[in-house]
Symmetry: none
Subunit: 147 residues, 2 copies
Amino acid sequence: MAQAFTGVHNINMDAKGRLAFPARQRDRLGPDSNSTLVATVNVSSPCLFIYPQPAWEQVLEKVQALPTMRPGVQNFQRLFVGYATEIEFDGNGRLLLPASLREYAGLDKKVVLVGQINKFELWDEHRWQDVRQQPVEIPEELQSIAL
Amino acid sequence: MAQAFTGVHNINMDAKGRLAFPARQRDRLGPDSNSTLVATVNVSSPCLFIYPQPAWEQVLEKVQALPTMRPGVQNFQRLFVGYATEIEFDGNGRLLLPASLREYAGLDKKVVLVGQINKFELWDEHRWQDVRQQPVEIPEELQSIAL
DNA sequence: CCACAATTACCCACATCTACCCACTAACCG
DNA sequence: CGGTTAGTGGGTAGATGTGGGTAATTGTGG
């Protein structure tokens, strides 16, 4: 793993739907500032995933290897692969998200970018607040380790 | 274990959100004063964790090893990993905490730093008072060891 | 195939924030 | 009591975020 993505950033999208990606995070994507990203939907939560192109390739391979005829798999692939879109930074380090993705995640003006190791999650602020305020039930696996 | 962190310190954050880390504790982080820290949220209490970078790496490994698809685990990882942010000391030995973390823990001006072996906890003073005054129920695991 | 509308890409201008620096005061130690 | 270290506050240059104008491109309908 090159560099794990972490951190929570509140970002304002402007009226044109442009998203000013935090400079620090942009630098982690690679020394060459004009790297390509791939955005798609998180089928199990109302938010988007944003992968650096190389990480996306790896994920896509795994997804392609799934048994397509198994029930559910096809639905998953349809959305996950279908919504995947290459996006690039404009001259000011901003991303323009396709309208279809913005609509899926309910992105309006205030959004939240959340680092998740090999990818980012992008949330509408209200939905993020909801997630955050839900009590986190500590799963069994966690109760046995020290943090 | 290099050096266990202990001690409770009342600290004032200044208007810019800078946190003057007690010099004694800073020295314990390592002889080189410019060591990196990682701050994140404690998902089960309204306070922050502050790890020395190496300790964080170890914790992150444990967290990544958890079964991601298990319900609860995903929520936990999203918050715990998501909020993790590298922070460094400025020239005066102060830390600048990201706004998102300050907001999570309700940190305003008066905060409390609590040593916790391999990490620190950072509390808003009021919330710390509340916790302190709550009766401590002794869990089973404790009844079998001598203090 | 053309005309028009909508969208996107590129550019520039400005507001805001942050990292870094310096200065001052308070606390500690010999 | 002087000297050194720690804690506090604030100024400033440069980086970053924000907004908008305009040209190029795409899509749509006639």
